[in-house]
């Protein structure tokens, strides 16, 4: 059989497949812009920081957004604060213990309360958050924008972009991070804000 007889139809059909069904978006950003920001406001001290070690993937189908699922991982050792002693304590055994628990994970299996507003979808991501090997079920509000064909303009590679924005809070006592201790200096509530872009090359 002439190899062209197989490859030509495949080549013609490939662009159709590229726009159909769910796509896997990789959140490891080669530009290094993907960041999570956290803030803890205690009575005596306010701690602000960020983490840039984002990875993971999300399966997204623009036709069925409620079936969106995926995992977002944060390298716990990438978390930074302004004071070196505080950062050392935060990474240390008594707090996040990044040596033993190197990643913070949020995995979700579906979206609920999906509402479309123009290019943007707002929904609740139903999933599980794992910090320090403690997993709890969580519903996280997310805003998702699917930017078809825009990866080329961002990363010089043909493909789609998926932008995920979210603001939510977790409490450290839920994850057994020195619950009830040092509440005057280290707040129990951790406010998290993220604005991530994932890439799905064609």
């Amino acid at each position: 059989m002439n190899p062209l007889s197989i490859s030509l139809p495949t080549a013609l059909l490939l662009p159709l497949f590229a726009f159909a069904g769910s796509k896997s978006f990789d959140f490891k950003d080669p530009k290094g812009v993907n960041t999570i920001i956290f803030q803890m406001d205690a009575l005596l001290e306010s701690i602000n920081g960020s983490g840039a070690g984002i990875s993971g993937s999300v399966e997204f189908d623009p036709e069925e957004p409620s079936q969106t699922s995926g995992v977002i991982l944060l390298d716990a050792s990438s978390l930074r604060v302004d004071n070196p002693v505080l950062q050392e304590h935060m990474h240390g055994e008594e707090w996040l213990n990044v040596g033993q628990f190197p990643s913070i994970e949020f995995s979700f299996s579906q979206l609920s309360d999906v509402k479309r507003s123009g290019r943007e979808l707002s929904a609740m991501a139903e999933g599980k958050m794992t910090i320090r090997n403690t997993t709890i079920k969580m519903k996280v509000p997310v805003k998702i924008s699917h930017l078809q064909g825009m990866l080329e303009k961002r990363n010089k590679t043909p493909g789609d972009l998926l932008v995920v924005r979210s603001q939510f809070s977790v409490s450290r006592e839920d994850f057994g991070i020195r619950s009830g201790e040092h509440l005057d200096k280290v707040a129990n509530q951790i406010d998290i804000s993220l604005n991530l872009a994932g890439a799905a090359p064609y």
Partner: protein, 99 residues
């Protein structure tokens, strides 16, 4: 009793307070990094698609609450030394009682 030594002993507190005020009267301890946030367009040249916040950490020293506390501690220490010195000096200038 001269007040000048007491004024000099308050110098560490004044310097500590000035340094603390210069760096923004932060209630937290010192910082060696400063975060600045940049609004980066998701797709360059298309701001209508939204922005991402990128945090850039810059090496910079900022004093914290320890600065006025350390200044206060030093000032109290110097003030106490001045007080003891002046008290001894005044006792020795009176001299021993004739009896």
């Amino acid at each position: 009793m001269s007040k000048k030594p007491y004024l000099f002993s308050s110098l560490p507190l004044v310097v500590g307070l000035l340094l603390w005020a210069k760096d923004g009267c932060r209630l937290s301890f010192w910082a060696t990094k400063v975060a600045s946030s940049l609004e980066v367009p998701i797709v360059e040249g298309m701001p209508e698609l939204g922005f991402q916040t990128q945090i850039v950490w810059k090496e910079q020293y900022l004093s914290g609450i320890e600065c006025p506390i350390f200044g206060l501690f030093l000032s109290l220490l110097f003030g106490l030394c001045v007080f003891i010195h002046q008290r001894r000096a005044s006792t020795s200038s009176i001299g021993p009682s004739p009896s």
